[in-house]
Every structure is written in structure tokens, then in C-alpha cells.
Symmetry: C2
Subunit: 218 residues, 2 copies
DNA sequence: CCGGCATATGAGTAGACCTCATGTTAAGCG
DNA sequence: CGCTTAACATGAGGTCTACTCATATGCCGG
């Protein structure tokens, strides 16, 4: 299971007080993202609101990107956990239902979880042990990187719950599907604060049509 | 036809020398993007390489984003012009061929045009007269905004050349298709410097499958 | 009570974006 | 041609942000 401290923190908080401080900083980061966006977010303000000196901020987070990455991973975990639970419990007879469920759950969290609407999966996140890859924009690289994590866990779900045929074809298809869905959902939330319903529908259609080649026929 | 000076420049260069200066700044911007990426690009360095004082830079470009936006629009124009030419001249009997052609042309330009590989359509570009929309990341907003422009021109092409049924359904479908394709192609170029061939194939499949509902059956 | 080690702190550094007062050139006009 | 006026060009410097590091503070075994 992914974890906030996996490659994003400079030092793992040991004492109870430190853990709470890191948690508070992440919470304030989420709220600030909703208020002023990534560009407007400053590490100083995050620290101030969390009641933490700036030096302590940098004890735990390597930089601004690391902070947002940590938040995104926390949100990502929450999303995948909830999705796993719902896929396991509900009566999913059809993989197309699973697609709808995943999209709906994602949309629901975008609406309700602070910081999720803006950051969601990727947007930020430089890869943890990434090659220095000059000539790139870290924001977008990160988005891609993160969707690979989602695809990984979705693959596990897909194989376990739906009995899909394992293999590189499926892996690639899932990554492509997540990437495409992510892009369309971003568009949906750009068009409408709660996500344009038509675009959400189109997102489901897009994914279902594409996956029809890679998954057993209902 | 879109134009670099459409909403991206602070003042349109009138004299011949000024036009050349703006052109040189855009060229250097492209080269620098390939070398150091968006995060590493500085307005100072662009100006220095173009042999232009920093003050003059800001006479023409409102800010760093404006510079990159102008470059992206220039590239976008080039892409759409070439696509229009190829769609008009070639023997396109089938809209699925048109999809392949568009993707191939895009990939070809990503490989060869400086600054295209990194910036391509969007990535940067805040909308020209955009609402101030707090709480967002300007980079990603811009990418979306720009793909709408692409979709607009693709729609014109689609209707004129392929006789597709006009309407909001098609508009939305094209925007979704461009958004999704853009995302998958970014992934393809992240995975491989010249674009992972498998992912490029998947991109075509994704778009074709999705559009099958919206365009007349070959 | 105390030495030594881990942790906490915030003034300070480096550097980026962008401005604006000043200098320079061109244009309009009698 | 000289004068007035406006447009354009310039780069030192203001402001702000990410991030550091020397110092202060607390913690703990002896």
C-alpha cells in the first residue's frame, strides 16, 4: 500500500507531536490549494497556518513539490482504498460497472475532499527516484508518474475481481485508460465546479469502448 | 487563423527589427525548453540568448507564461496548417485514416520541431481573457484551454472534409478525443524519446473506438 | 547535576520575475 | 532645418519565494 512517507518525506516523523505536525501541514496544504491553487501556494503560508516554523517544514518535506506530492499520495491512497472496498462489497457482475464505479467514486472525492479537486492524482508529483531528466516540466511528468501507480493497483483489482487476462497488453491498456480518463475528468471539472455531467458520461464511454478490446466480454 | 499576437503579446511589434526580436525570443524559448524544461527556463536567459535586454522582453511578453503560450500557439498553428494541407491533398476516404494522419503528424512534429516535444499544445498557456479562476494550477488549465482551440479547428476540418453531422455532440466528442489523445501521447513521449510506438498505436485505437459513435460509419 | 546528542528555530541567502525612471530614437510640424 | 512631442529601449533594482544553516533548545543516560 502506498504511503505518504514513501520517498516524499525527508525524515519520517517519530514522535507523536511530529506526526501531528506533518498531518496539519498536509491539511493546510489541501485547504490552500483549494483557495489559491498551486501557483499561489507558498511553503511559508502552509507552515504559518499549521503553526509550524518554516525550518521545521523543511525538516520533513524536501521542497514544495514534495509537500504536494505527499498530499496527492494521501488522497490517492484514500481513493484506492475506497474503490477497493466498494468493488469488493458491491454486486459487480460486469467490468463496465466497475469502470462506472471507479469514475463515480473519483468524481465524488473530487467534490468533497479538500485539495482533491485541484491536485487529484497527479498534477505535481515528481517521481520518487526519478532520473534527473532534463528538458521536462516536472508538473506534467509527475502527473504521468502517478497514474502509473493508479494503474498498478487497478490492475491488481481487475485481475483479482474480474478475472481479466493477465499480460503486458492489459497493463498498457490500463495505464492508457487511466491517463485518458484523468485528462477528460480534469476537463469536466474545469467546465463545471462539480464536474460537467455530460463530460463525465463521455469519460465512462471513452474508457468502456477502449477497454472492450482488452477485457472479457461482460 | 490563430496568431501569436492574439492575446499573448503586450504590444504587437511594428518595426521590422522588433518583429525579428520577438521571433528570436520565441526561437530561443523553444531551444531552452528542450534543454532545461519549463521549470528551468528563465526570462533572463531567453533575453540574453536572443540578444535582447530584459526590459525589452517585457515590452512584448506579459510574463514567462505569455512567452511559452506564444510559442505554443505558433507551434499549434504550424501543426494545424500542415494537417489541413495533408487532409486536403491526400486520398482520405475514411475518417479513421484522418485520425491516424493527425496522430502521425503530431508525433512527427514532436520529434522534429524545437520546443514542440515539451510544450506541444498545452502544458502552459493560461487562457487569453480567462476568468481569474482562483484555486487552480495555471499550467494545467492552460493545457485544457488550448486543446479546445485544436478541437475547434479539427471540427471545421471534420465537418468540411468528412461530412460529419454537425452538433454539440460532435463538438464535445472532439474535445474529449483531443484531450485524451494529448494525454496518451504525452505518456508515449515520456516512455520513449521518439514516442513509444505501442502507446502511439494505443492512442489511435482509443480515439477511433471512441469516435465510432459520433462519426458516420466509414 | 551534566555532557552529548537529536531536534527545533527563524533570520538570512540566492535567485527569479517583473517594474519603472531614465535615456534614446523617431515622427510631426511650421 | 530646428523644435516639440510621443513612442520605444534599457538595465539596475524592488519584491517576493524557495530553501539553508548556525544557533538555541530540549532530552536522557550516567
Amino acid at each position: 500500500m502506498t504511503n505518504v512517507s514513501a520517498g516524499t518525506l525527508r525524515r519520517r516523523p517519530a514522535q507523536r507531536r511530529s506526526v501531528e505536525r506533518v498531518e496539519r501541514m498536509l491539511d493546510e496544504c489541501a485547504r490552500l490549494l483549494d483557495e489559491v491553487g498551486y501557483d499561489g501556494l507558498t511553503t511559508k503560508e502552509v507552515a504559518r497556518r499549521a503553526g509550524v516554523p518554516i525550518g521545521t517544514f523543511y525538516q520533513f518535506f524536501p521542497d514544495k513539490q514534495g509537500l504536494v506530492r505527499a498530499l496527492a499520495l494521501r488522497n490517492l491512497d484514500a481513493f484506492l482504498d475506497r474503490l477497493t472496498a466498494r468493488l469488493g462489497s458491491a454486486e459487480i457482475t460486469d467490468w463496465t460497472d466497475a469502470v462506472d464505479l471507479a469514475v463515480d467514486e473519483f468524481v465524488a472525492m473530487k467534490r468533497t475532499i479538500p485539495g482533491f479537486a485541484i491536485v487529484d492524482f497527479g498534477e505535481i508529483l515528481p517521481s520518487p527516484g526519478a532520473p534527473p531528466l532534463k528538458g521536462t516540466n516536472r508538473l506534467l511528468d509527475a502527473a504521468l508518474e502517478n497514474n502509473v501507480i493508479v494503474a498498478d493497483r487497478l490492475r491488481a483489482l481487475t485481475i483479482d475481481l474480474l478475472g481479466a487476462p493477465r499480460g503486458p497488453g492489459l497493463d498498457r491498456a490500463l495505464i492508457v485508460a487511466v491517463e485518458a480518463a484523468d485528462a477528460v475528468l480534469k476537463l469536466a471539472f474545469r467546465a463545471h465546479p462539480d464536474g460537467d455531467p455530460d463530460l463525465i458520461t463521455e469519460c465512462k464511454k471513452l474508457v468502456r469502448r477502449y477497454l472492450a478490446d482488452h477485457l472479457p466480454e461482460r
